[in-house]
Amino acid sequence: MENETSAGGKRESTVGTPRWVKVFGIIALLVVLLFVVLMVAGGGRHGPGRHFRHADTSQSGHR
């Protein structure tokens, strides 16, 4: 998202990676790793088998 502030001018430029980028990078890496682990554990799917207790309602949960 962009506003009227220019990308150039006095905002930049810092040399080296800012600390917030490192923190965000570590968090992003952990989130992606968690996602991959969940995907692998779910047989490559992020579907109902992962999220639902009873993937087959014909076998359980009926009155």
């Binding site: 962009e2 220019s6 990308a7 150039g8 905002r11 930049e12 965000f24 999220h51 309602t57």
Partner: protein
């Protein structure tokens, strides 16, 4: 290619509208998920899970895709670029990740709706905590993206720094 100011404003308006709409839609899904988990009324619980799939297909997913596309056009058509500033890169990653998970989650919405439509399935089977978890995580991600867009924290990528050096006139 840098867009002319009027076009840039138009794309920015589209991007803000789609992004804010996405946050609103995710909030509605959080509310639906809470209703599905807490309501004692059978019709209300089943209705909550039944409405999630079409609402996601007709509102959530289009808003996510519109936010992603308008964000891509906006960044590529302005001096910010797509890979020049870390905050833009992180926003892109958040947007792509959230949209990807949402696309994959559509299968779960369909499944939850099919279970809710099954009159033989009891309420305990119909209820699922998964939409609550996903809506909450989506809101966290979208909130972070919004904060990045507003505060625009400093930091240029090595690519951005190189481009900045190239664009400066060489000193005599």
């Amino acid at each position: 290619m840098i867009m002319p100011p009027r076009l840039r404003k138009f794309v920015l308006t589209a991007h803000v509208t789609a992004s804010v709409g996405w946050v609103g839609a995710a909030t509605v899904f959080l509310a639906l998920a809470v209703v599905g988990l807490t309501s004692d009324d059978t019709g209300t619980v089943r209705g909550a899970y039944l409405v999630m799939e079409p609402a996601a297909r007709l509102a959530l997913l289009p808003l996510a895709i519109a936010s992603l596309l308008s964000g891509l056009i906006q960044s590529l058509g302005s001096t910010w670029g797509l890979f020049r500033h870390y905050w833009v890169v992180f926003k892109l990653l958040i947007n792509v990740f959230a949209t990807l998970v949402l696309v994959m989650y559509m299968e779960t919405f369909r499944f939850l709706a099919s279970v809710a439509a099954d009159t033989n399935a009891d309420l305990a089977t119909v209820r699922s905590s998964s939409p609550l978890l996903h809506a909450a995580l989506a809101l966290v991600l979208l909130l972070v993206a919004t904060i990045l867009a507003i505060y625009k924290p400093r930091g240029m990528t090595p690519y951005g720094l190189r481009k900045q050096r190239e664009s400066r006139p060489s000193m005599p």
